[in-house]
Amino acid sequence: MERSFETQLEDLSTLIQRMGGHVEQAIGHAVQSLVDRDADLAREVIQQDKQIDQLELDADAHVLHVLARYQLAARDLRFLTTAMKILPDLERIGDQAVNVAERALELLDEAPLPLVVDLPRSANRAREMVRQVLDAFMRHDADAARAVIHMDDDLDAWTRTMFHDLLAHMTKEPSLINRAMRLAFVAKYFERMGDQATNIAEQIVFMVEGTVLKHARIHEDD
């Protein structure tokens, strides 16, 4: 039996929530595997990414199905197109968690290097942004989405500081270059996660209010 339109939208939300849950967990596990030098956990993150990809495919197919099947009101159309746009962002955040886990595995081959930079802080912030942006999506809360956009500023600043510190370490101790470079990558991954969460947040503001935030930001930057 064909499920009702409302149920179809709900099913889509559920798929996105489940995907988001896996992404959130992947970020947490990835940084934990790095800090604890836990190869099993890192491999689990890489393994779990298949599930994220599958959920993205399912959600995508679901969106297309609903678009093809129903005459949509503007509000529902915005919800669906937003869902379509945030899915790849969410999926990429998952990929970046995988990248973190891969770097963690590579670092396992080398001697332990004390975490000279505060990567867990960035990881927690990225994860918190993903958490809050998904909450904002589920609650159709534009203010919460805007708050996420502001959270990105710290993350960018921390990344710059970490690059600077890692560079200083590398110049002082060239034997660290190999490992420090990987940490720099990891810092960058978290920064990218923040950027993607920001993208999602902008989409949510559009979904709720119908205003395009990106252009406003471009003008601000001018």
Partner: protein
């Protein structure tokens, strides 16, 4: 349709039937009576005329005038007939007599034989039917018969008039009956309507409807029964509300987060703790999908598994909320009876962060104690073994090993003594004997005790407080506080750094209002997330750095002892710059 309208309609039906039946009977009856009365009247008047004729028979020439008179008197057509039944005079004959033989008319024939005769037949004028009455004249004379004729219509109209009067009386009576019945029905149905309205209100959940039920008739019994139903409902609902309120408050007051999810994965109930964990505030969860709120993969798969299998699920999740608490999760199927698909699951989330930490502390404590004891013990054992296997006559060597043994035994003794102290304090067995003492002297004594140990670090030690600075404390225990803090400050200080004990009298506006003593160092400092934890047993800011091992109990003992003095201690620190341990004492200690 209202009851009274139905009754009224029934009554109207019966009225119409009875009215129709009686009307049919009445019409015949009335018509007959009216006709009879008319005929009798005509007969008696005719008889009077005939008697006059018999007394005084008219002459031939008087006939025409006479017949006119008679016609006027009887208000009818009058004919005078001779004995052969020939018309000799007729009131209807104008301009001359029309001699007509009427001997064949039935009324005339009857009159000839019986004296009276009546008949009905077409009028001579040709218009309608006429009634004729003929009387034989028995006196001698020319006139044999008097014949009177009236149109039947006249009789009929008289009977119609009577009928009309009667019908209007009957109809009036019926209407009066109807109106009275309506009032009566109304009087009867009003209370019934009240009862039914009340029953409807009760049915829709409005229990405020109260109706009096005095009397002993059927209606009163109905009202009484209804009020009993109401009282029963009120009792049951109060009972249910009471138990529900109890259940609600039990669930609401539970420390554990509680969520009920039905078989279609919709949330049915969530308590305050659950809302707190998921940052929901007062948002309604009613019948929303569980995935609106929950997306933790482990929790969702426990719910899925619980719903699918109908079996309880257990698990532990460390990253459920943003505060990083650890939760023990129980997913229990709603027990609607076994061996059938579960109606839903109850999820309870028990915050075990504290228990976890305590458990970890306990584990660490045992591990630490054994480690701390084993390290010096190994050294003692090694030194003793070496000593036994070597030449005891070499006093220099022997002394070196004995010194090692001595040093490590001291360390063990210290640890055991710290453990004993801690146990004494924690079990409440330690009693203080406060006496007025000079804090500066106490501080200098403590520094002197530690100096040999840190001589190599070339620390700059200072005491900065008004002198004398008298405080009422237990000499041994407060000295222990200062020694432990200074030991800590010296151990983690950089070479050539400073360590200072400062003191000032509180001005009553800040802290506890009594003396404040600060132990300050220029060491590596304490990270923010450890500011509180360093007072826990065996907590180490950097577990990897084994260089400066102490017993790991010092600061824990310090906090306990300061608390025992009625004071409190906290640490302020900037990483890489140093730390300030601030002891605030109550005014009573001054």
């Amino acid at each position: 349709m209202k009851l009274r309208h139905r009754l009224l309609m029934a009554l109207a039906g019966v009225g119409v039937l009875v009215g129709a039946a009686s009307a049919i009977g009445l019409v015949a009856l009335v018509r007959d009576a009216v006709r009879t009365a008319y005929v009798e009247d005509l007969r008696s008047r005719t008889l009077r005329v005939v008697r006059q004729l018999e007394l005084k028979p008219p002459g031939e020439d008087q006939l025409t005038g006479m017949v006119e008179q008679l016609s006027a008197a009887l208000d009818a057509r009058v004919s005078l007939l001779d004995r052969e039944a020939r018309v000799v005079a007729d009131s209807a004959a104008e301009g001359g007599l029309v001699p007509t033989v009427a001997g064949n008319a039935p009324d005339v024939r009857q009159a000839r034989s019986r004296g009276w005769g009546t008949s009905r037949g077409p009028c001579e004028s040709g218009n309608g039917a006429c009634f004729r009455l003929t009387r034989r004249v028995d006196a001698p004379g020319a006139i044999g018969f008097v014949r009177v004729g009236v149109p039947v219509e006249r009789i009929e109209s008289a009977s119609r008039r009577h009928l009309a009067a009667m019908v209007s009386v009957v109809v009036g009576a019926l209407f009066l009956l109807g109106a009275l019945s309506y009032l009566g029905f109304r009087l009867l149905s009003k209370p019934i309507e009240r009862v039914s309205a009340c029953a409807e209100r009760l049915g829709s959940g409005d229990l405020d409807c109260v109706i009096p039920y005095d009397g002993d008739d059927e209606l009163a019994r109905l009202r009484r029964a209804l009020m009993h139903v109401r009282a029963f409902m009120v009792d049951r609902i109060e009972e249910l509300e009471g138990s529900r309120a109890l259940l609600d408050s039990v669930i609401a007051s539970m420390q554990e987060g509680v969520l009920v999810v039905d078989a279609s994965r919709r949330m049915r109930l969530a308590n305050g703790s659950f809302r707190e964990i998921f940052g929901l505030g007062g948002a309604s969860i009613d019948s929303r999908a569980v995935t609106d709120i929950v997306r933790h993969p482990d929790l969702l798969s426990m719910i899925d598994e619980g719903l699918a299998s109908g079996e309880a699920q257990h698990g532990r999740i460390t990253d459920l909320d943003r505060r990083g608490r650890t939760f023990e999760i129980e997913v229990a199927p709603l027990a609607e009876g076994r061996h059938q698909p579960t109606e839903g699951v109850v999820i309870t989330m028990f915050d075990v962060t504290r228990i976890d930490r305590l458990e970890k502390t306990r584990r660490d404590f045992v591990a630490n104690v054994s480690h701390e004891l084993r390290t010096p013990l190994t050294s003692v054992k090694a030194a003793a073994a070496t000593l036994l296997g070597s030449d005891l006559d070499d006093p220099v060597m022997a002394r070196r090993f004995l010194e090692t043994i001595n040093r490590h035994s001291e360390r063990m003794a210290e640890l055991v003594s710290d453990l004993a102290d801690l146990s004494l304090i924690e079990t409440g067995g330690l009693k203080l004997s406060p006496e007025p003492l000079d804090a500066a002297t106490l501080a200098r004594d403590a520094m002197r005790q530690l100096e040999p140990r840190y001589a190599s670090k070339q620390l700059h030690c200072e005491v900065d407080m008004p002198e004398p600075f008298t405080i009422r404390v237990d000499r041994r225990r407060f000295e222990q506080v200062l020694v432990n803090l200074l030991d800590n400050g010296m151990k983690f200080n950089r070479d050539g750094g400073t360590i200072a004990v400062r003191g000032h009298h509180g001005d009553g506006s800040t802290g506890l209002g009594g003396p404040v003593i600060v132990v300050e160092d220029t060491g590596r400092g304490v990270p923010e997330d450890s500011l509180e934890k360093i007072f826990e047993r065996f907590h180490r800011v950097d577990p990897g750095a084994a260089a400066e091992r102490g017993t790991g109990l010092g600061l824990s003992i310090v906090r306990h002892l300061v608390n025992l003095h009625g004071g409190r201690i906290h640490v302020e620190s900037e990483l890489g710059q140093g730390s300030r341990f601030v002891i605030e004492l109550p005014a009573s200690v001054a």
